[in-house]
Symmetry: C2
Subunit: 253 residues, 2 copies
């Protein structure tokens, strides 16, 4: 498999992709091309190993990754089967972000900044972030719009010390995500609660709603790979203008 140039044109990183990822791509390709049909059975593992020129351990790593992606499912003693209705493309296994939603709908996302300043953390905030009350906390509050229509009010709070110089960043032109990423902050998980409330005067004003209209409130704590709280955010969506999309999985115990 290493010796077959052109198996997959993408070798950008300068180093070849791991064999098991190449195998994933080959198998995905066979499914996309219709060689393997939904509901159909794959060749036996030992046969696939021979075809791909890789060991069984490596092949199984690839197959495992495809299970996680919902593309294949194994049946002990019978074989590997292609999931049905793979046509349903992909729905994010995680939450679809605001920008992703915008892209999916072919709309242009914008933000207006209401607030971008550092103030002391309240007791509640300190508890959520695992820091001392009074610690300097940077607050970024934005209205997010699609095609000029206000969709959501987003209040994000993070320790000022996490991103030195954050209070001089111009968030009218720079995205929060790219700013965090540049500082080496990469959330891997977000513990979230979601509820429906009535819009108060302030929220209604910013979202162009009437007071009392339904608002979808999502509160998140973003965590690092070390399970360290990175930031908390509260996002209020205009009830009739937005719909969260996600997919939950029953853990395979």
């Amino acid at each position: 498999m290493n010796d077959s140039p052109g198996v997959s044109g993408t070798v950008l990183p300068g180093y070849p992709e791991p064999l098991w990822i190449q195998a994933v791509n080959v198998i995905r390709g066979e499914i996309d091309r219709g060689v393997l049909r939904p509901g159909g059975r794959l060749p036996p593992e030992r046969e696939l190993c021979r075809q791909l020129g890789i060991s069984r351990v490596t092949l199984r790593k690839a197959l495992g990754s495809l299970v996680e992606a919902g593309v294949l499912s194994p049946s002990h003693g019978r074989g590997w089967y292609v999931a049905k209705s793979t046509q349903k493309k992909e729905w994010p296994n995680s939450l679809e972000s605001f920008s992703e939603t915008a892209a999916r709908m072919g709309l242009e996302p914008h933000s207006t900044v209401l607030r971008a300043e550092a103030t002391p953390a309240t007791i509640d905030e300190a508890e959520q972030l695992g820091i001392a009350p009074g610690t300097s906390l940077f607050r970024l509050e934005r209205v997010r719009l699609l095609e000029g229509v206000p969709i959501a009010l987003d209040l994000t709070r993070l320790r000022s010390a996490l991103v030195p110089g954050i209070d001089s960043v111009d968030f009218r032109v720079r995205s929060l995500y790219s700013t965090l990423s540049a500082a080496g902050i990469e959330p891997v998980r977000a513990d979230s609660t979601i509820e429906a409330t009535k819009a108060d005067e302030r929220v209604a004003g910013h979202l162009d709603l009437a007071a009392g209209d339904p608002v979808l409130v999502m509160r998140q704590v973003a965590l690092s790979a070390q399970q360290e709280p990175l930031f908390v955010s509260t996002i209020r969506y205009a009830g009739d203008r937005y719909r969260l999309r996600t997919s939950f999985s029953r853990s395979h115990d």
Copy 2:
């Protein structure tokens, strides 16, 4: 490791647990007992292999599973680290179910059945389930209560043919989940949308709200391991009485 009786008392299935699961339990145990502290580094893989008496491949399968659980994180060239604030126990990576929420709060869940009958599928339903319009669809509509207080209105629809005899099941005493499970129906994923709307007269009546009060609406399509649609359900939660809890993960590409 096989030869050390008493490593873990649980060998119920008659067959021993796989070595890698035993290794997972040992490592979890060390962390719970405080031998390995949050933020601390594990011994090198080759050293752990020696201690546990297993091969490196097997150890890495165990470590991989602990990464997925958010307990450990690897750092290439440096070592394996215990995630910080492991104290936060576990929050389901999937959505917390109504019964789970009830259990967490120490409350007793109940249901009243509004409707349980088979009728032809509408075009929308047929499309969601990948079946022909007019196919016989079993509809189960229930009010879900905690301590006698109505919390949600749950309408679930599934192909009558999936569970033969479903229209003679008494859902006042039998749970939907156990009925499906007994029929070999095991959803592994649920594609969901969540929005906030105003309660209409009917919903308000069943949930003991005023018309116009905010309602959290979740629509789900449950899928099998083969990605086959199993059932669709629409759950309307009283906005001020319920809060969805979940945790989203940025996939580790």
